[in-house]
């Protein structure tokens, strides 16, 4: 168990916590919370994968500011690609959340509760 893999473990723990919420909880809102946690976990994992430690100090964002030379940036900045992927992934997570909340309030409308134990097909 070295430090260099510990952050990955945290990301997977988060993923598992989200899965646990979805499998074990019988409440639509709790399930949505689980979904949010899973989103966090995947985004966290991606950013961890792209991180590059900068020996000279704080990690360098891949943005070319006035006092930086492009070569300097290329040698020290963190990986910009996972950031682009996470941007997309956050948006997808938000979209799914919007849709699932719409379904949850519609189901509340039908049953008067968020409890899946009272719903016919979601019990199992």
């Amino acid at each position: 168990m070295t430090f260099e893999r510990l952050p990955y473990l945290a990301a997977f723990l988060l993923l598992v916590v989200g899965l646990y919420a979805i499998v074990a909880k019988r409440n639509l809102i709790k399930v949505i919370v689980g979904l949010l946690v899973i989103d966090y976990a995947t985004n966290l994992f991606l950013i961890l994968v792209g991180y590059r430690s900068n020996s000279g100090g704080a990690p360098m964002a891949p943005i070319l500011t006035r006092d930086l030379a492009p070569a300097q940036l290329a040698a020290h900045a963190v990986d910009p690609l996972p950031q682009a992927l996470i941007l997309t992934s956050i948006v997808i997570g938000l979209s799914v959340t919007a849709l699932v909340v719409a379904m949850a309030i519609r189901l509340y409308d039908r049953y008067g509760t968020f409890d899946t134990g009272r719903m016919r097909n979601l019990r199992g």
Partner: protein, 554 residues
């Protein structure tokens, strides 16, 4: 000429963005809404036909934004993706045609057609993507559109089914994304072909790669509804409006599930035997469980949904068998010819299933439209009152149960033949698979006979007494698919086969072979590209399958 590939995504996307506005402008004229989507789908179909007819050399990978290899995203159309794109285009045109009249029962047609076209764009995007993350993005496009469409009727059952589908689908997507991250960390690439190359060059798969592969398998097996991961399908597919059920069962689980699964296993993970075994096991499980669960169903659409699980099981079993045989093939031409046949059988069955299962779901929609019910016990006597629907139903049911002159017979027969041969020439364990496949074929025959008798035979019931034939557009859509069902056996004709199916088979055979053994394709010259060699091998299939090669198989 310009490269056609971006249009496959751009055309349905433009329609999808436009339709919600058009729907509002047209207001209550619901039929008129269908015009634009039908025209666009016909355009996509025309493009797909053009794409299939073009030789591979004229459809090079298309680099988005003119960026070249390491930084850009590519669209790739090889034999396999062309084949799937064609199937998707055919089924979606039929489903849209059917929707014209069927969807007058539902409100907000603008939203419906918008979601439909966006789902189509998502599927085309997945099938043509040459970049792993891009596959994920378009998978989500198609997936989210299908979640919303399943709930389109906004009844409690439909919402619940859709909720379950959404949750399981999102979990699958999360696993896929984690696998993408692992593969990026390990290989430094997202381009599918490049990942494959790096993995091959790295010599043997390592534990992290297997982990990524397991996540991807899990994610896409869930999208394909293979058995341990099938829980959402029997709820989601029956809940959707009939044309959407036809799209989901007919093409979505294939384009977003089976296709990606096969592509990853064959191309990216370089066709390892172990993956083939996993596919065979999952496929056999789905085949058996789907058929057993289908028998007891009283709801027509639910029965069809379980039947989809079972039939997709056939497809996956056949392709997995092909992969296993390819892994054993070096030095044994008989096994290689058998592997080619297995993959051909699997893809042929995939196409057949797309046609007859979407037809069956559309027909279930016709029946529900005419009678208001889809419970088998309250149906009956429709043979006389709805002749066209009845004949289409007979054709589809006979084809899916594998009765001789129909296409379904040939694909199932090829698969069974391959399984038996694999048991004889390869490993004895295939006997079990072959016997189960035969038993499932018999079961399928039984429950479709039950469906035909319940729906068509007997005296008209209270629900069906005043049933009339369905409106024009629905009749046209179902009749067209029924004709396709009848004509399906034509695929076996060499002229058609060479154009449509063989390139797809060639892609898989070439990729599935262990790379260093590429030149072992029946003594072909070393300089030939594996794809060309495989295509050559297809034209001269080796019919001398006998037991003489059997003893050396591990």
């Amino acid at each position: 000429m310009r490269n056609l590939l971006p249009l496959f995504v751009a055309i349905p996307l433009a329609g999808g963005f436009l339709m919600p506005v058009v729907g509002r402008l047209l207001g209550p004229r619901r039929r008129a809404c269908a015009l634009i989507p039908i025209l666009l789908a016909a355009g996509v179909l025309a493009l797909a036909v053009r794409l299939v007819l073009l030789p591979d050399a004229q459809t090079p990978p298309y680099w988005m934004g003119a960026w070249d290899f390491p930084v850009g995203i590519s669209l790739v159309a090889d034999g396999l993706s062309k084949f799937i794109v064609l199937i998707v285009a055919v089924v979606s045109l039929a489903a849209l045609l059917f929707s014209t009249d069927y969807m007058t029962r539902y409100t907000s047609p603008g939203l419906y057609y918008g979601l439909f076209l966006l789902m189509l764009a998502g599927m085309n995007g997945v099938v043509l993507a040459g970049d792993l993350f891009n596959v994920f993005v378009f998978l989500e496009v198609a997936g989210i559109a299908s979640y919303a469409l399943v709930a389109f009727g906004t009844e409690a059952d439909e919402l619940e089914a859709s909720f379950k589908y959404l949750i399981l689908g999102s979990i699958a997507s999360a696993f896929v994304l984690v696998a993408v991250a692992i593969l990026y960390s390990v290989t430094g690439h997202l381009n599918l072909a490049k990942i494959a190359e790096v993995l091959r060059a790295g010599g043997g798969l390592t534990v992290p790669i297997y982990l990524a592969a397991a996540f991807l398998l899990m994610g896409f097996a869930l999208k394909a509804a293979l058995v341990p991961f099938h829980a959402w399908l029997p709820d989601a597919h029956p809940s959707a409006p009939a044309p959407i059920s036809a799209m989901l069962s007919g093409v979505l689980i294939k384009a977003c599930g089976v296709y990606v699964l096969v592509r990853l296993v064959f191309s990216v993970f370089a066709g390892l035997e172990a993956f083939g075994v996993v596919l065979v096991v999952l496929g056999t499980l789905s085949m058996v469980a789907g058929a057993i669960l289908a028998i007891g169903q009283g709801d027509l659409k639910r029965l069809l949904a379980y039947s989809s699980i079972s039939q997709v099981g056939y497809v996956v079993t056949a392709i997995g068998t092909g992969l296993v045989l390819l892994a054993w093939a070096p030095g044994k031409p008989a096994l290689q010819a058998l592997a080619v046949l297995a993959i051909f059988g699997g893809l042929f069955h995939l196409a057949n299933h797309a046609v007859f299962k979407s037809l069956l779901f559309l027909l279930s929609g016709s029946i529900e439209y005419a009678t208001g019910t889809r419970q088998l016990k309250s149906l009956g006597g429709l043979g006389r009152s709805m002749p066209l629907t009845a004949w289409s139903l007979r054709i589809a049911a006979l084809s899916i149960s594998g009765v001789p002159p129909f296409a379904g017979f040939f694909s199932k027969f090829i698969i069974l033949l391959v399984l038996v041969q694999a048991a004889v020439l390869g490993h004895g364990a295939f006997w079990l698979v072959a016997v189960l496949a035969l038993a499932v074929a018999v079961l399928t025959l039984v429950y479709y006979a039950k469906v035909q008798r319940a729906v068509l035979g007997g005296a008209p019931t209270a629900a069906t007494a005043d049933a009339r034939e369905v409106p024009f557009s629905m009749a046209v859509a179902t009749a067209a698919l029924a004709v396709l069902c009848l004509a399906g056996a034509l695929v076996l004709h060499p002229a058609v086969k060479r154009r449509i199916v063989d390139p797809a088979v060639a892609v898989l055979v070439a990729r599935g072979l262990p790379r260093s053994e590429g030149s072992l394709l029946q003594g072909l010259p070393q300089t030939e590209q594996p794809e060309v060699a495989a295509a050559r091998a297809l034209e001269h299939p080796n019919p001398t399958l006998d037991a003489s090669d059997a003893e050396v198989i591990p």
